[in-house]
């Protein structure tokens, strides 16, 4: 009797344990799905009937299951707000395709596409020759453009956050990141910003901790606008050796959060992070001497300044352009794919997504999040390049 009770308890305990391990794995495989069937009858009447049926996974070329083709991407965090929105909306356009994107930073995107662990990578910085050597057959192409903005969090002497749009003279940002301008009430900033009372606070300089395309664009601008910066720190760099006094955040979200939490901070992020993160961002003096606040037009002017010749690599720097309306810290953000795809189904699905993203349907979401769609001429270049992509050596 005792032994039976004993065994029973043992079994029960085991069952509970196994259940604890296994229950969450139980997956909803076949759920009733409402399918709306629309039939056009005699060109005039549209009859709609709702049929409830259970879609079961059947062998053979049946209608693809929602999310049955998964495409993974990783890289730049600069375009992440737009990408996540695109993937979300694209699921309504073609439910069979699901795109995942992990915003690990541009440097991470380049290394993951090199390791072929993802189908596409994202980067705001062009790949270097050394990086191309390691990832043979990778092609970059721009998908959208956008501005990098200087964000700040300054509390005035009364403890209130300054929400005014600060003006940053051409060399000011370079001097701040060199440590030459160390206080918010530095004469350079004060004289550029009449009407704003800047406190005598130290400027806490925030940078990116990871290898970043946003940093690349920002330093590209600093080097172009501030000769002293260029001599001391060199040109555009994904991960420069900043002053030891800088604070570093991970990806655009990390920098935004760090600026939000640091009084006297300045940082640089893609504009939608500034807006969603409720941080004020400054206007920047461009090459023509105008103070420009980041807008769609400013970035369009920047793209126009540098023409539509992106070369065979399809990359171009568009910082510090000469026009009066140009926003000087602008960049294309790029996707990276292999020109010869190994998985034809995924490759095809990926192109369907790219095509949609660059179409007016996709542009709509870009505009609503302050990204700027490509000029038609550049888009044609991209489409021409994408049409040359093959799958296992054969054209699609």
């Amino acid at each position: 009797m005792f032994k039976q009770v004993f065994l029973f308890i043992a079994l029960l305990a085991f069952a509970v344990n196994v259940a604890a391990c296994a229950t969450p794995t139980a997956a909803p495989t076949s759920a009733p799905v409402k399918v709306v069937e629309t039939k056009v009858v005699e060109q005039t009447k549209v009859v709609e009937k709702v049929v409830e049926k259970v879609i079961t996974p059947t062998p053979g070329p049946a209608a693809p299951k929602p999310g049955s083709i998964v495409i993974n991407g990783a890289g730049a965090s600069f375009p992440y707000p737009l990408y996540s929105r695109w993937f979300f909306e694209f699921a309504y356009v073609n439910p069979a395709i699901r795109v995942n994107y992990n915003p690990i930073g541009s440097g991470g995107g380049i290394s993951q596409i090199t390791a072929k662990t993802v189908e596409f990578g994202g980067s705001d910085a062009p790949m270097t020759d050394a990086e191309y050597d390691k990832a043979k057959g990778v092609q970059m192409f721009p998908i959208v453009a956008g501005p990098v903005v200087p964000v700040y969090n300054i509390k005035d002497d009364a403890g209130k956050m300054i929400t005014a749009t600060l003006k940053f003279p051409a060399t000011a940002l370079g001097d701040i990141y060199l440590g030459k301008i160390a206080k918010w009430n530095d004469p350079v900033l004060v004289s550029a910003n009449p009407g704003v009372t800047l406190p005598a606070k130290d400027i806490k300089v925030i940078v990116r901790a990871d290898s970043s395309g946003t940093t690349y664009t920002f330093t590209d601008y600093l080097a172009a606008s501030n000769p002293e910066y260029k001599t001391k720190m060199g040109g555009a760099n994904k991960l420069p050796k900043w002053l030891p006094s800088t604070l570093a955040g991970n990806q655009n979200p990390g920098v935004t959060a760090l600026v939000q939490n640091t009084d006297g901070a300045i940082g640089y992020v893609e504009i939608s992070f500034a807006k969603e993160g409720k941080l004020p961002y400054g206007s920047v003096q461009n090459k023509a001497g105008e103070y420009i606040i980041a807008t769609r037009e400013g970035v369009q002017a920047a793209m126009a300044d540098f023409g539509n010749d992106l070369g065979d690599k399809l990359v171009a720097s568009i910082v510090n352009g000469p026009s009066k309306t140009t926003y000087p810290i602008s960049t294309y953000t790029y996707l990276m794919i292999y020109m010869d795809q190994t998985d034809c189904v995924k490759g095809k699905a990926m192109f369907e997504f790219f095509k949609w993203a660059m179409s007016p349907d996709g542009d709509k979401f870009a505009a609503s999040l302050d990204y700027v769609p490509l000029p038609d001429a550049v888009q044609k270049l991209v489409e021409a390049k994408l049409s040359k992509v093959t799958c296992q050596g054969k054209p699609f």
Binding site: I9, A20, P24, V70, N72, F87, E276, G277
Partner: protein, 302 residues
């Protein structure tokens, strides 16, 4: 508790000890008692604080949708984390399937042959393994599974978690098996039961309490790991049930949401943290309850 009070108070000093001596002992006792008491309270405070704080912060944003909906991008209201909940279950499930049998069978060996070279090696190896930071398991799984397969997957994440769970389950099981009275084992063998029958039908049931507790604690620990998930599970916005696909997990989701500058996501991070804590706490309480219940059934007084 207060031993000195129970001493018979005699007018004559006891064994030459003065009244002052007793007073000093009494004061020392009170001081030390309150110190240990205070330390105990201090030790409990973080747990209560975290639990309360997360509950207050997280419960405001909890609703049914949170458990049933897929996540939405920034700026689109609503959405939930059903994918992360299912993903965590999937990944931990894989880890259980891999780690538990190996750990229990290994523990039998280590407990039966404690002083053989292999027995010593198991014990030493698992001790070292449990000290390795979890992020290293992530890189390991990334290198041996993700890179060759060229895809991030729930399976790779499960392997990383299995390596984290393995030493925990193995060591607790081994300790529990060692606590089983020798007589039980010898009795079983003397009655003619084979070695494996003794192990499975006598030793394991006798040690089951501790084993189940160990497993639950290991699951709780594994379910909360964010670092290895970065390299393995990768994250996903969809509901994933295929082991070969990348998937969202609760800790990784919390990491992404908490780091984000978006208020909406930060709120979701609190709610997700509450879900994770409830899950882990629930598992721990379940483990305790099982132990208590079984002890009572067997008429044991623990």
């Amino acid at each position: 508790m207060n031993q000195t009070q129970n001493h018979p108070r005699t007018s004559a000093p006891l064994l030459g000890m003065s009244k002052a001596h007793f007073a000093r002992r009494k004061i020392t006792n009170i001081v030390m008692l309150s110190l240990t008491g205070a330390a105990t309270v201090l030790a409990i405070i973080p747990l209560l604080w975290i639990t309360l704080y997360v509950t207050i912060q997280g419960s405001r944003f909890l609703n049914i949708e949170f458990f049933t909906q897929l996540p939405t991008p920034v700026g689109v209201p609503g959405g939930g984390i059903v994918n992360a909940i299912v993903g965590t279950g999937l990944v931990v499930g894989v880890a259980c399937v891999i780690a538990i049998p190996v750990a229990i069978i290994g523990a039998f060996f280590a407990a039966d042959y404690p002083n053989t070279p292999l027995g010593l090696a198991i014990r030493f190896g698992t001790d070292v393994l449990s000290g390795i930071p979890s992020i290293v398991m992530g890189i390991f799984a990334y290198t041996i599974i993700v890179l060759p397969q060229r895809r991030f997957s729930a399976f790779a994440a499960g392997v990383a978690l299995a390596i984290i769970m393995l030493p925990l389950v193995l060591r607790t099981t081994e300790e529990m098996l060692k606590l089983v009275p020798r007589g039980l084992r010898e009795g079983s063998l003397a009655l003619g039961a084979s070695n494996w029958k003794t192990s499975v039908q006598v030793l394991l049931p006798a040690a089951l309490n501790g084993v189940v507790t160990g497993i639950m604690l290991a699951i709780a620990r594994a379910a909360g790991e964010a670092a290895p998930m970065l390299f393995t599970a990768f994250g996903s916005t969809g509901l994933v049930t295929d082991l070969n696909e990348s998937t969202a997990t609760l800790p990784h989701t919390i990491y992404i949401y908490a780091m984000s500058p978006f208020k909406d996501w930060q709120e979701k991070a609190w709610a997700a943290a509450l879900v994770l804590i409830a899950l882990v706490l629930g598992l721990n309480i379940l483990a305790r309850a099982l132990t208590w219940w079984r002890a009572r059934q067997m008429g044991l007084n623990y």
